[in-house]
Symmetry: C2
Subunit: 226 residues, 2 copies
């Protein structure tokens, strides 16, 4: 896009190492998404995500949930910071706090999350292990808008990967994470391009961005036929 255009203003919330944050930083730098991260907020002062933001010269701060008596008060502080930064899209990137009703109202269909499973299969925590133990032959990751429940909001994009018999929790998590790093920037760019429309619980994609032609006959089978 041209230098005169206005980039979508992202606020990223993270609790951990921030590899998904890094993939978004990199995609912004590379010009793959028409967005800029204007704020990184961590609820944990030791989150690696803060150092990644610092290295990329992105404004960042810790808002420690332990400093607040209630989730509502913590959420209010986060909302206030995001509004001050004129954030247009909130990105949860390994953010381990549940977002409350006030937060969702303030940013309706403007909060994205990524979940390391093919929702509605395997909501909750430790889902790579759960998929493995369940014996699923496929799992993946899901980018969705946040709604009032956990892991139930309208699905924007999904990536599928096979599960193999010799997988460990680590090998499967790594295979999924590789796709997370592709999927999240892709979903953010669809939003930045104005290509997403939420209808009930379905997220429809502007056909100009859907690229379905090359894809119609595709299917994966696991275990793969000879």
């Amino acid at each position: 896009m041209g230098s005169g255009s206005t980039k979508l203003r992202l606020g990223v919330l993270a609790s951990g190492g921030g590899t998904n944050l890094q993939s978004i930083i990199d995609a912004c730098s590379a010009g793959d998404i028409d967005a800029q991260i204007v704020r990184v907020i961590c609820n944990n002062p030791n989150a690696g995500a803060l150092q990644r933001a610092e290295r990329a010269h992105i404004p960042n701060c810790c808002i420690n949930h332990r400093d607040f008596d209630t989730r509502t008060a913590f959420d209010a502080a986060v909302i206030s910071q995001l509004q001050q930064d004129r954030v247009e899209l909130v990105i949860l990137a390994g953010f381990m706090r549940i977002v409350g009703a006030d937060f969702i109202r303030a940013f309706t269909h403007r909060i994205m999350n990524i979940h390391p499973a093919l929702l509605p299969a395997f909501p909750g925590l430790n889902v790579q292990k759960k998929a493995l133990e369940y014996g699923a032959k496929f799992t993946g990751c899901t980018v969705h808008f946040i709604d009032a429940d956990v892991d139930t909001g309208p699905i924007i994009a999904q990536a599928v990967v096979p599960v193999f018999d010799d997988d460990t929790e680590e090998s499967l998590s790594a295979r999924i994470l590789e796709q997370e790093h592709r999927l999240y920037p892709h979903a953010i760019q669809l939003f930045a391009a104005g290509a997403l429309k939420v209808e009930g619980r379905r997220v429809l994609i502007d056909p100009a961005y859907a690229n379905t032609g090359k894809f119609h006959a595709s299917a994966l089978i696991n275990p793969p036929p000879a």
Copy 2:
């Protein structure tokens, strides 16, 4: 396999039109699976599956559940017929009756079912419609062994297909059905080859049959990136 070898003896239970039965008949005829269907049983005298069996000269009968006072009595009649035919693997192909505990005990890990969704997502009925309405970007089909609950048994094989914004229940069902017709014969052949081992709720594939090499880097994303 050579003409002197012994083919796996299949019993197929169906309630409806029998397109999955047909795909198995065709795969047996083509020699793609080392199995023969020795009996088709329908619980409904008008099931198209009976005509398909008749056309293929496969022994077939109707055991009408309405003729029995209890599910246990109906199941006992079906089990008796299958045992008389020395059936080694029972194939549920659109069989709309729940299989009882006695039946499962008589054929532990020797009853397969196919379900038109990526279990554990979307168990139950009308699941193509449910996947569409949920806004899932992928769905598919699952071949699994039957256990004591519905749609929960150990997963043998799965196929994934994308869901598109312009899908109807019919178009999505057709895309899944195309994969069902590939997946079910494939899963039966893995059983016939002795390549399946059930460990807890995981079904492990003999590595000689897993063909994972060509597959390790594969992933699908929907909506597909540019």
